[in-house]
């Protein structure tokens, strides 16, 4: 399992301003077989993440990862830092003295877990495991979305219009009427949409349309 995770490029980031804590946590997490990157300053960590993202290929998705965060840090609090992260990088919070408000706030904002220092290894590694699973799911989802979006981008504007109306449940002739064309043309467009979107049935097309809907299926020029 250890070697596998290292090879998979699963990374656990540790951000804590206290050097002794940072080292100890890094060791503990490393002993469980994860690749660890530790940062003493929240902004330094953010800069690093941003740099990695921009260096990556435009359509590539990040590897699963998570961050173990101290809540109290001099430059940027853990909660503030969390706002800058997306769901592929869930945070496990560690705090010396967390109160209920702080915990609720962090969890509502999408924290994977909220643990108090000193933390037992089992608790920490369990939380990291869950955070990584969440990250993997988010990465997977993002991956799919990218794939679907790239398929969508292959559609012509006309095909896109046809798809939009079809997934709304319109019949071919209704589509033809709305677009001011004939049913036969609509049929041909529809067949190409099914082919380009790599789906076999209308139901499947609707599901795909739903998935892509969040970022917006609104007609945009297929550049």
């Amino acid at each position: 399992m250890n070697a596998a995770q290292c090879e998979l490029g699963v990374t656990v980031y540790v951000v804590d301003d206290e050097e002794c804590v940072r080292r100890a946590l890094s060791r503990l997490i490393h002993s469980a077989g994860y690749r660890v990157e530790a940062y003493g300053l929240a902004r330094e960590f953010l800069a690093q993440v941003a740099a990695q993202r921009s260096a990556a290929l435009p359509h590539s998705v990040p590897e699963p990862a998570c961050v173990v965060l101290d809540v109290q840090m001099p430059d940027l609090s853990g909660l503030e830092l969390q706002r800058e992260l997306d769901e592929t990088l869930p945070a496990v919070f560690l705090t010396g003295h967390g109160d209920i408000a702080m915990t609720v706030g962090a969890l509502k904002a999408g924290a994977a877990d909220f643990l108090t220092k000193p933390v037992r290894d089992a608790d920490l590694l369990h939380a990291i495991g869950q955070a990584l699973a969440r990250s993997a799911a988010a990465v997977q989802q993002q991956h799919e979305l990218r794939e679907l979006q790239s398929r969508l981008e292959r559609l012509t504007p006309r095909e896109r219009e046809v798809m939009q109306l079809v997934v709304l449940g319109r019949l071919n002739k209704q589509v033809a009427c709305e677009l001011g064309t004939v049913e036969k043309t609509v049929k041909a467009h529809r067949a190409r949409v099914m082919q380009k979107m790599e789906v076999g049935s209308l139901a499947e097309l609707v599901r795909v349309a739903d998935k892509v809907a969040q970022p917006g299926l609104s007609p945009k020029p297929a550049s």
Binding site: V21, A32, P118, D121
Partner: protein, 505 residues
């Protein structure tokens, strides 16, 4: 209190004046009835009365010439006359705060006010000259060469809870334990020369003032066995032709209690300040504990590996040692801060003191989102002071500064602590904030006790801080910054200045 002491010579003169005044009212001074001169003491010898009359005139003359001015208005002196001098000892003010080291001057005064003529009266004056001290607001006694009390005045009898005449014949060690052995030890430095001792009341005005006195801060024992802090001054004199010691004892209970109360109060505010920091101190302690636990658990896992990663485990063990030291260091700092000990004036590096305090509030700064920076001149000369008390002052100033920036924009939550040297050689510590500041009229008021801007503050921090700094012969004040917020300044004299060696109380 010290101001009162400066006026003592004049007060003594006034005392003499009143010694010679007629009783104004029987209830006049609230002294115990047994301190009534007419019942306690036989009438003065006629020749002594004459001497006292002269003394009175001289004292008046001296009083008017005294640089301190008349300390007490000699209210009733105008109507006094030699014939009623014997009634009067109870009229002398018991409230005069007496400093025993000054008591020795009395002798000089007496020497001056008593004339050198009337040789035939001298022998009589011998017998009665001690009765002059009967009215003194300080305990006085004469010891013989063996350290036995030959006579003691009324104040001494009251002070030691002795019956009239009971003190005579007692060894001084019964009253002031270990005093006589100290006298014997210091006999050399006291330069007691039996051949030429200073003759009490008889030193001609031109003679050198006095042989050196022995002064001791010690505990004295009452006849009932209880003890009290006392200052004892012994002075070699000639007494009835033999060498003897004239002694004065001052009850220092009040000044000790004052000092103790002040320490107690300082300690209380210190503890309450630390109480405010409790949360962040727990955090400060939690960090090394977190590191230790994680390190240990990591080590357990590395040992399980096949092969065990011993190099890593070795590193871990080293780190655990460091972390444990750090945790105990945090505890040491807290304990040193809340400890209740006597004031200890030592050579101190003020930069180190400031750094210690900054360490103490490090977590608090993070929790409050305050950026605390420290700027210490590395080549500061040492100061003389009590480490804990000076830490208390700096902690108070820094925590106040944190409070001052609580409601301001996060970017302005900046507190800077400096330690440097002024052009005039004083060591300066300054704590600067970028808070809202305060109006000029409040700048001085905040140093008064019970003035506070905090919801749960006692309002004692700054007033105690100021008294601590002043005790160190320094100054503490506040200034408005030209741009934003305030700066609190502390200046302390450097160690090498001889004045600092004279520690104040």
């Amino acid at each position: 209190m010290n101001i009162a002491l400066l006026a003592v010579p004049a007060a003594v003169a006034a005392c003499f004046v009143r010694l010679l005044s007629p009783p104004r009212r029987a209830m006049h001074d609230g002294l115990p009835p047994r301190f009534d001169a007419s019942t306690r003491r036989p009438a003065l010898h006629q020749s002594t009365r004459r001497l006292l009359w002269r003394a009175k005139s001289a004292a008046r003359a001296l009083e008017s010439a005294s640089p301190a001015g008349p300390a007490q208005p000699p209210a009733a002196s105008g109507s006094s006359s030699p014939s009623n001098a014997s009634h009067t000892s109870h009229a002398c003010a018991p409230a005069v705060t007496w400093h025993a080291s000054r008591a020795v001057r009395w002798k000089e005064w007496l020497a001056r006010v008593l004339p050198a003529s009337h040789a035939q009266q001298r022998t009589h004056a011998y017998l009665d000259s001690f009765s002059l001290l009967e009215c003194a607001p300080v305990a006085a006694f004469v010891l013989d060469a063996q350290g036995q009390v030959m006579c003691a005045n009324a104040h001494a009898e009251r002070l030691f809870h002795g019956q009239q005449g009971q003190l005579s014949g007692l060894g001084i060690d019964m009253l002031v334990p270990h005093l006589w052995s100290a006298v014997q030890r210091d006999a050399q430095s006291l330069q007691v020369e039996p051949a030429a001792p200073v003759d009490m009341f008889r030193t001609p005005p031109s003679a050198p003032a006095a042989a050196p006195a022995l002064t001791r801060e010690t505990r004295a024992k009452r006849r009932d066995g209880s003890d009290f802090p006392a200052q004892v001054v012994l002075h070699p004199i000639a007494w009835q032709g033999a060498s003897a010691m004239l002694g004065f004892v001052c009850d220092r209970t009040e000044s000790y209690e004052l000092k103790r109360d002040r320490q107690e109060l300082a300690h209380l505010t210190r503890v309450s300040t630390l109480g405010e920091l409790a949360g962040s101190l727990a955090h400060e302690l939690n960090q090394p504990l977190t590191a230790i636990l994680s390190n240990v658990q990591a080590a357990q896992r590395f040992i399980e590996h096949d092969p065990p990663d011993l190099a890593e485990v070795r590193d871990i063990l080293n780190d655990i040692v460091d972390d444990s030291c750090r945790a105990s260091e945090v505890i040491r700092r807290i304990r040193a801060f809340v400890k209740k000990e006597e004031l200890e004036l030592v050579r101190l590096d003020i930069g180190g003191v400031l750094r210690d305090v900054v360490q103490l509030v490090h977590s608090d700064a993070i929790v409050r989102g305050v950026h605390l920076s420290l700027d210490v001149d590395e080549h500061l000369p040492p100061v003389r002071g009590d480490k804990v008390q000076l830490q208390q002052v700096m902690l108070n100033l820094i925590v106040n500064a944190f409070d001052a920036v609580r409601d301001v924009d996060p970017l302005d939550r900046v507190v800077t602590a400096f330690a440097g040297r002024d052009r005039d050689g004083m060591i300066r510590v300054a704590v600067r904030d970028r808070g809202h500041g305060m109006s000029a009229d409040r700048l001085e008021r905040i140093f008064k006790p019970f003035v506070t801007s905090k919801a749960q503050g006692l309002g004692l921090g700054l007033s105690i801080s100021r008294s601590i700094v002043e005790m160190h012969r320094g100054r503490l004040w506040a200034e408005k910054n030209s741009d934003q917020g305030m700066t609190f300044h502390v200046t302390l004299p450097p160690w090498n200045e001889p004045a600092t060696a004279r520690a104040t109380e």
